[in-house]
Assembly symmetry: C2
Homo-oligomer: 196 residues x 2
């Protein structure tokens, strides 16, 4: 596997993801990444100052995909209340499928999440921002009441109230059949709270 292509940050991130998938977060080393790419580990350090920075970048990429996947639910053509339910359901379904489909990968992901709380905080802000957009649209459409406190706080409250259904820390609960009902109940609670 000689480096036929130029060594880019992008290629390193792909290789790192592969190594993390294959060996898990505890055993994945920079040397492994370099081996997959057919380069010396020194070359990896030209693109990422530390192993931690490399893992952080992978985490960021990973989280970014969720943001992109949820975008359609923010902009979609239905009424805002349906879009909100759709968005929340999509987020839950996405995470649950990931957790159920490949528990080991989810465990790896959770370790990265734990290592990079600053990245996660920024990611949460993005998600809250998307909720805020839906809520603002809902107010324009006359579906949602004007917020008692500032709009951002309400969006954050919706995010926090549904935490149990998107925070990977709770992934173990999602396989239970009761989880579906619990999710529906919380979403309906949230919808009642927002209704004009």
């Amino acid at each position: 596997m000689a480096a036929t292509e130029t060594l880019t940050a992008e290629r390193i991130l792909e290789a790192t993801e592969e190594v993390l998938r294959r060996y898990g977060p505890a055993k994945a080393t920079v040397v492994d990444v370099a081996r997959v790419l057919g380069v010396s580990h020194g070359s990896v350090y030209r693109h990422f100052r530390t192993k931690a920075a490399l893992r952080e970048a992978v985490t960021e990429r990973w989280l970014e995909r969720t943001i992109v996947a949820l975008r359609p639910y923010v902009d979609g053509g239905q009424p805002a209340d349906e879009r909100l339910t759709g968005w929340l359901t999509a987020l839950f379904t996405l995470k649950r499928r990931k957790a159920g489909g490949d528990p080991e990968l989810m465990a790896t992901f959770q370790v990265l999440i734990g290592e990079n709380s600053a990245v996660v905080d920024r990611h949460e802000d993005h998600l809250v921002e998307q909720i805020a957009e839906i809520l603002a649209a809902g107010r324009t459409e006359g579906l949602f009441a004007a917020p008692e406190r500032d709009a951002k706080a309400t969006a954050r409250a919706v995010f926090d109230a549904t935490d149990r259904f998107h925070n990977p820390a709770h992934a173990a609960d999602w396989s239970s059949p009761a989880a579906e009902d619990a999710f529906t109940a919380v979403v309906s609670l949230v919808q009642r709270a927002l209704r004009a």
Copy 2:
């Protein structure tokens, strides 16, 4: 430290708690517990079949204390909506004080929680039961609307929606000053959802 008193399950549980506090969950051994009590470790096994059973009993005792501490908020003389806010605030304050005041003890507690999910599930059921009582009272008082689904599911939804503020998994977030506001926002969201 001769066994001047009779060796009871109660005394063993107290000693186990002390050992867990002092050495943490990883280093606390049955031999340590026996040493504190001045007996042989074989005697401890007369009262608890396994180390796991002993830890489970400690966990149960620990959780029971929360139930007792919250009881007054269920029965208290104020209107039900205020009692609900009081109950939720008490739970959050209790947990937060525990987490902030002695982080190591909290970490120990979290390990026990993780080991004994069956006990935790039963504990959650008790808490949800307390919420359900307040909600039922609130309906009688005309403060809360009749539930769309069954009453138990609504109580569970309130519990789930506030998960971030009582689940020890989130203890790390509670020290942030934003946590207080986030909590207030979610409680106010829940109250709006329930209002008649």
